[in-house]
């Protein structure tokens, strides 16, 4: 007995929409088993994890706070993944962006004015892009493996941030805590709803994320560059015949995804955190890879997918408080979700058959 995969001649339109839903259903089922194994009532645990956070304004705000960086990074990565280029170091590019954005208020503590926020966002984009350019240039110049180089740079960026906040950038009046001084008000992102029953911590970061997602959608669907990226990803040979420069595509997608991750880093430190610390991201750069695939590399679908993965973080926190479940379950969930997304993609694009006897070669 063995499995046989046969590519479908034409994938029905509903299959594309259905595969993420199927993946979520599988993940929920695995989750139920996991909760039962941990001795928690599965139904209640799933409710606490995935439904309850949607029922009150406070957690909707928290959801938005976490969704914004995930959406931004995943949108950038979707461009790289479409080109079949593997930037898996977004976490490092996020940190680099946070550092370059934070440099402004740290080195010029008195900055004020409406120009500060856009300037910091631009600095962050430049910092993230520069960090992303390293693996791209080492790839195009020397042929170094971009997957491993981009990943190694995650550790290096983390250590660089650690050095800065414990060393030269440490807040002199901060009782030796490893953190910079708090950013001045003009270096912070504004909150969306500041008073009333629906007020909360969600800030303009989500607006930036959604606008950039829409712009990226247009880039992919409506421009020559988008076409170049798609051709380069699906058939490098065809791209060469068309005269598209492979190296330039590599550099472009790494700069693009690096810049987006950098902006995500700025949103984190200019939004809820308000200063630089040794740890500024709970692994957004890695989780965003799952977001990108769950959104099928479509920037608009990624907005929805970003909220879903944000829910896994918020749900994890809720489950920790209400069911004494460790937040490690969140990572397990996220891994299972990516497995399920990848598997359901194959299963919907192929006819799968169980073949009984071994076929004998003629």
């Amino acid at each position: 007995m063995r499995l046989e995969l046969r590519p479908r001649a034409n994938v029905p339109w509903w299959a594309n929409a259905l595969s993420p839903v199927a993946a979520l259903a599988v993940t929920a089922a695995v989750g139920a088993v996991l909760f039962a194994a941990l001795g928690k009532p599965p139904g209640r645990a799933l409710y606490v994890y995935f439904v309850e956070p949607l029922t009150d304004p406070w957690s909707l705000h928290e959801l938005t706070v976490k969704a914004a960086p995930l959406i931004l990074i995943a949108v950038g990565l979707s461009v790289a993944f479409r080109a079949n280029r593997w930037n898996i170091g977004a976490e490092g590019q996020l940190i680099a962006g946070a550092i370059t954005a934070g440099a402004l208020p740290v080195l010029a503590p008195g900055v004020s004015g409406a120009w500060v926020v856009p300037a910091m966002l631009l600095l962050a984009a430049a910092g993230g892009a520069a960090w992303g350019a390293i693996p791209a240039i080492l790839k195009t110049r020397f042929g170094a493996n971009e997957i491993l180089v981009s990943l190694m740079l995650v550790y290096v960026a983390g250590l660089l941030l650690d050095y800065l906040v414990r060393g030269p950038w440490r807040n002199p009046g901060g009782f030796n805590f490893p953190e910079t001084a708090s950013f001045p008000p003009d270096a912070r992102l504004a909150e969306l709803i500041t008073d009333g029953a629906f007020s909360g911590r969600a800030n303009t970061g989500i607006v930036i994320a959604v606008v950039l997602a829409i712009l990226t959608f247009i880039l992919i669907a409506r421009t020559l560059k988008g076409f170049e990226i798609a051709v380069s990803g699906e058939s490098p040979r065809a791209a060469r015949f068309a005269g598209f420069d492979e190296r330039r595509t590599t550099l472009f997608v790494f700069l693009y995804s690096g810049a987006f991750a950098g902006i995500a880093g700025a949103i984190e430190v200019m939004g809820t955190i308000g200063q630089l610390r040794p740890a500024i991201s709970p692994g957004y750069g890695f989780t965003a890879i799952i977001v990108a695939f769950l959104g099928r590399l479509n920037p608009l679908a990624i907005i929805v997918a970003g909220y879903l993965l944000a829910l896994s973080y918020i749900g994890g926190e809720a489950a920790q408080m209400m069911l004494q479940l460790t937040d490690r379950t969140t990572r397990v969930f996220q891994g299972v979700l990516l497995f399920a997304v990848l598997a359901s993609d194959t299963l919907l694009r192929h006819e799968v058959r169980l073949v009984r006897a071994k076929t004998v070669a003629p």
């Binding site: 063995r2 499995l3 046989e4 995969l5 046969r6 590519p7 593997w86 898996i88 080492l138 020397f142 042929g143 170094a144 493996n145 997957i147 491993l148 180089v149 990943l151 190694m152 740079l153 550790y155 290096v156 250590l159 660089l160 650690d162 050095y163 414990r166 060393g167 890695f286 989780t287 890879i289 799952i290 695939f293 460790t326 490690r328 379950t329 969140t330 990572r331 397990v332 969930f333 996220q334 891994g335 299972v336 990516l338 497995f339 990848l342 598997a343 993609d345 194959t346 299963l347 192929h350 076929t359 070669a361």
Partner: protein, 303 residues
Amino acid sequence: MIAILLTIVTAATPLLLAAIGELVVERSGVLNLGVEGMMVVGAVAAFAVALSTGNPWLGVLAGAGAGAALSLVFAALAVGLATNQVATGLALTLFGIGVAGLVGEGFVGVPGVKLPPLSVPGLSDLPIIGPLIFAQDPLTLLSLALTAGVSVFLFRTRAGLRLRAVGDAPAAAQAIGLNVIGIRVAAVIFGGVCAGLAGAHLTLVYTSQWIEEITAGRGWIALALVVFASWRPGRVILGAYLFGAVTIAQFHAQALGVAVPSQLLSALPYLATILVLVLIAANRRATMVNTPAALGKPFVPDR
């Protein structure tokens, strides 16, 4: 001198174990980026079983088993269902870190069980080699034996030739009647066992305690070592010991109070990895000849 060499060997062993396993996987045409995940799960499984049974040998077995179990998930998806290997490997790493954190939560700060060093009559008393290899933990000896075994297997046996054929030209291999899927699944499981053993070494020998994310990127460095070795087992030994030396040099420099930020020293293994990847890639001929031609490409068997 011997003492320093000893620490280098101990630091190198997990890298060597994980890299030699991944080398076989990649020679079969499969890129499993989940080494870090399999390693960390192997580490926690080994620690937990050794602690609860009091027997470190059962811990070693558990580490290998846990690595293999995780690699089966990868094999089912990336080989069986021909999913994207890069994404599946990443998922395996995320999943593995999550599972290990979940299982290991109660073990943080608990003293573990140490695997006793070998003592081979006659051999352990040899000068230099004796203390370095035969009076070390048994996994070090195993890692060297495995490397030699893999070298012989790949280049001196028919089965090894078949595995390389599957990695270079899966369609042609299938046409001459080889079971491409079966061979690749077997290779992936071997890689899982090796990564699990590497994890077991971390918690039973190297630190003998459980720390969250104890692997600290070693799985990724092992992946880079395979590239560094241009897919040749002998060169994996060289690479692993070189990286072991970098790790140890960093500790010694920190202890001596060298006037550089400790973070820069901690970053050395990662920076060295990048440097090595660049230098190796610049030598295109050696890389081109040995890179498995079908590496990372999903294979769907023809009927």
